[in-house]
Amino acid sequence: MNAAAKRIEVDNLKVRTLKDNFIKGLIIVLSVITISPIVLIIYELIAEGIKQINFQFILKTPPNSFEAMTALANGDIIPGGIANGITGSLLMVVMASAMAIPVGVVTGIFLYENPGKFLANLTRNISDILQGVPSIVLGLISYVWVVKSITNGFSALAGSVALAIMMLPMIVRSTEETLKMIPQSIKEAALALGVPYYKVILKVLIPTGFSGLLTGILLGISRVLGETAPLMLTALGSTIINMNITKPTSAIPLLIWEFYNDPNMIDLVWSSSLLLMIIVLTLNIISKQIAASSK
């Protein structure tokens, strides 16, 4: 190789290295831009919301618009809180979990036990489709099924049905994925001892995969806790603490939506969102921790 050709090759390598470093830099910059919204959003929520968070906020129901306006005019913090939203969210999420978790886990076990069978494949595909259905459509469905036919009016039951349909496919898939990771030998050991099938499920499969199941369940709960759209069509909202499942009920996201539509309540928008975010992100992080520690 003569000197000129060598120089071209060195120059070429320089250009290529430069290009390589440029692309790496670009990817780092774009990645940082990608995660900047989470920092900005959390900053905004804390900056605007923290001043309203106190015991009263958790224990009382919201003020009416006039009370809020008076407080604002006097420079006070807005009185009252979102107790009706907290209890409503809790009520609906507990009911939704009671419907979705047993069915979801058992269906997940069915998929795990019958790999490759027609019905299992069909169920798996259908649950994938169900997972992709927009939450507002689930609200419409629960409106037709529960509001129109069962409770004859907006109700906590209708809200929880919509949330349960939303949770169901998430739990089915996470159960199946968890069980797939359990070594076959553990299950076979139990079967070889002559243990009945239901006991294998209850005493071997579920305990062994418990942390995985819990992760899926917590993620599902954290997802539905923040849902607003389906509840607008089903639970509607209420100004009082309601524990009657056939009556309209509030929820934290529904209250955020109401506060958002009332210019006097703007401070409450931020504090309720902050509280909702704290709950949702805590559930998220706990479930990730469980998943990480069981690996």
């Binding site: 990645s31 076990i109 994938d128 169900l130």
Partner: protein, 283 residues
Amino acid sequence: MNSDKITKWVLLLSSFIILFVTGGMIFSLINGSIPAFKNFGFGFIFSNNWNPTEGKEIYGALPFISGTLITSVAALIISLPLSFSASLFLGEYFRGTKMAKVLGTMVDLLAGIPSIVYGLWGFYVLRPFLIDLGIPNQGFGIFTASIILAVMIIPYATSLSTEIIMMVPNELKEAAYSLGATKSEVIINVIVPSARSGIIASYILSFGRALGETMAVTMLIGNANVIPNGLFSTGNTMASVIANQFGEADGLKLSSLMAIGLLLFLITGIINGIGKFIIKKMA
């Protein structure tokens, strides 16, 4: 009957519940939208009239279908360079490092933020910023909604395509490195071509997510029942028109909203089906 048989039956029955729920859903949506389709025919899909005045009621879904598609496509385009960079960061450049763990966790947290909080942030923080940049209509419209939608689908697109990128066999990459390729050349010539269909599928699935988002879009799109005539025009999507108009709806209007719900169900179902099909073919 022994206990094993009973257990098998219980498992079988529970799987029927999910089929039953989905089947019932399709039935109820079709059943609810029959009056709308009877009244307006299939012209309902292609009509841009939306007039709830009693006696002169006429409804059409075209403004909402077009609004949904335009915002979702715009969101996909905005999110593409960001989420693709993040997935290369996580799956290739800093794979397995502490930095990747931090970035990955933050991307996951983005997925945990409720839609309504995104909407609030868009309304109170992003919108004033866009007004300062000279965006018309008080900062409401397709563009603003698309930015927020893009941020909302980034975590899905990122985590799916990171997984796909990590699946590219090491031998392929090592072969290219041993020939003297730089990292970016390996990405462009080895990783992207061999992971192409999976990456496309992950963006199709995120597109499906964007189609159905409701609250954040409702708060930012301007809720005008017209076909958007540009990126900065106001508009409405299928999900947000249901959320907006549902409160005072009965009769023909309710049926029209159900019909829009049915169309939304079908569109997202088809898009998700295509995405899942490509992923399954790869595996």
